[in-house]
Amino acid sequence: MTLSWKIAPALAFGNTLVLKPAEQTPLVAIRLGELICETGLPDGVVNIVTGFGPTAGGAIASHPGIDKVAFTGPTEVGKLILQASAGNLKRVSLELGGKSPNVIFPDAPMEQAVALSAAGVFRNQGQVCCAATRMFVQERIYDEFADRIAKKDDEINLGAPLDRATTMGPLVSSEQPERVLGYLKLANEEGAKAKAGGGRGPQEKGYFVKPTIYTEVKNEMRIAREEIFGPVAVLIPFKDETDAVLQGNDTTYGLGAGVWTRDVSRAHKVARALRAGSVWINCYGLIDPISPFGGYKQSGFGRELGPQSIDLYTRQVGLREALTIELVDDSFPAVICD
C-alpha cells in the first residue's frame, strides 16, 4: 500500500492529513481508516475523502489550506497536480510512471534473471510504476533468453486472484484491458513479434489480459517508449555496456532499472550510468522502508522511504544563536551572504 508511505511519515513528524485513495480501490483505505480510529488518534489527524481525481483530488491539489501534497499515479496527473499546487506554492512530491530498463548480460545468473525479470514486469499484472517493462538482452543470448522467459510466461497461472494457486489476476478496471489491447495491436503494427501471450484471458468475466512478451522490438517503437501499465514486456537486443546504457537511458522516464551480471565492476558501472531512482543488481523490484524510492525526469521527484523522505514531511529552519547579547556596533549590514 503506497498510502502507508505517505500516512506513516506524515504522522511520525506530527502532521495531520487528508487521504484521497485511488477511486478503483477505496476499500482497503476505508478499512485502514477504521483501524486507525481504534488507536485513539485525536479527531482530525487522519481524514479520508474517497472520490474521483478531477473533483476530490483536484480540490486537494489546489487547496490553499494544504501545505504539502504527495501523489502516486500517472505522469499526466502529476503534471496537473504540480500546476494546481502553484496557487499557494505547496510542496509536492510525485511518484509517477516509468518504462524501466532491465539489462541482462551473458554472464548473468540466468535462472534468477529469467524468473525475477518475469516477476519484475508481471507483478500486479504489470500495473506497477517501476515494472521492468524494457528488457535489454545482450544479442548473443537474446534468443535463448527469449525462449526461457516465454516458458516462464507460459507457467503463469492467470485466474481468480483469491485462489492461492493463481499467480496473475485481472487488470484493475474495465478501461485497463482496452488500453492494453490497444498497445498489443500497435505492437503488431510496429512489427514486433508476440513471443508469449497476447490478447484477453480465456475467462468469460473479468478484466483479464494474458502476460505478453514481444521480441523483435526496437527502443524507438511506441510500445518501448510509452507506459502501458499492463502485463506487457518488450525484449530489445544490445551490443555492449555502452549500447545498453544509451538505450536504457533513452526514455522520458527514470524510475527503476535492473542490471544482471556476475561481473562486479560492470554491475556497478552500469548501475551508476543508468538514470533511475532505484537500480537493482541481480534482483528486481525489491522495496524496503530503509531505502529511498522515487524517480528522475518524468517519473517525478522527491524520495519516499529512507531518511531522505523526512525532508518531505518536515520543514527546515536555520536557527542562529548569539552567545553574547551586547550591542557592540549598530552598523552591521542588513544583508549577510556567505
Binding site: I36, G44, V49, M168, T314, G318, E321
Partner: protein, 176 residues
C-alpha cells in the same frame, strides 16, 4: 458493464466471513474530523471486483465541499489540537502496524477483491505497510535535527569583537 444489484456472496466469492462482513451494509463514508459521514452531495460510486465485474460496494463520492471540510478538520487538529505536542508519536505508528498485522488477512483480501492482484501479493503488501509504519515509528524518536559548524565570518560580523557564535540548523514540523 457492472451488475447494479450488489450481492456480496457473489461479488466477493471466495472471501472470508470477516471481509464479507465489512462489505455488507450501507455505503462506505468519508472520515472527517473523527466522524464517518456521507458526502455533502449525497453521491456514491460503485467499486467493482475486476475478477468478476460485480459491485463490491458503494463508497461516498467526496468532492471539493468535502475536501474543504476535511482540510478544516486537519488544520484545526494541527493548529489548535493537542496532536503536534503529543510526540513522540511512535506509539500510534506502532499501534497502527500491530492492527494492520492482526487484520492482515482481511486487509489483503480487500486489496485483492478491489484491485485484482493475487492474494499472495496482497499479503506481502500488507506486511510491507506494517513495516513502513514501524520504520517511521522508529524515526519519531530519532529525529534530532542537525548542528552545522558556525560560519567564521558570520560570527565576526554578527558579534563584532566576539569570535564565538552558535550556528545551528534543525528541522521542525511541517504542516501537511
Amino acid at each position: 458493464m457492472a451488475v447494479a444489484v450488489t450481492s456480496i456472496e457473489s461479488a466477493a466469492a471466495g472471501a472470508s466471513t470477516v471481509a464479507r462482513q465489512f462489505l455488507q451494509g450501507p455505503p462506505k463514508q468519508l472520515l472527517i474530523g473523527g466522524k464517518w459521514v456521507a458526502a455533502k452531495s449525497g453521491k456514491t460510486f460503485e467499486t467493482i471486483n475486476p475478477a468478476n465485474e460485480e459491485v463490491l460496494g458503494l463508497a461516498a463520492e467526496g468532492d471539493k465541499a468535502d475536501v474543504d471540510e476535511a482540510v478544516i478538520a486537519a488544520r484545526n487538529a494541527f493548529e489548535t489540537g493537542k496532536w503536534p505536542s503529543m510526540g513522540p508519536h511512535q506509539r500510534y505508528l506502532f499501534a497502527i502496524a500491530d492492527l494492520i498485522e492482526s487484520h492482515g488477512d482481511e486487509l489483503a483480501e480487500l486489496i485483492t477483491l478491489d484491485n485484482g492482484k493475487p492474494i499472495a501479493e496482497s499479503i506481502a503488501e500488507i506486511e510491507g505497510a506494517a513495516s513502513s509504519f514501524r520504520y517511521y515509528g522508529g524515526w519519531a524518536t530519532k529525529f534530532y535535527g542537525e548542528t552545522n559548524p558556525s560560519a567564521p565570518d558570520f560570527s565576526t560580523i554578527r558579534c563584532g569583537n566576539q569570535s564565538v557564535s552558535a550556528g545551528r540548523s534543525f528541522r521542525g514540523t511541517a504542516r501537511s
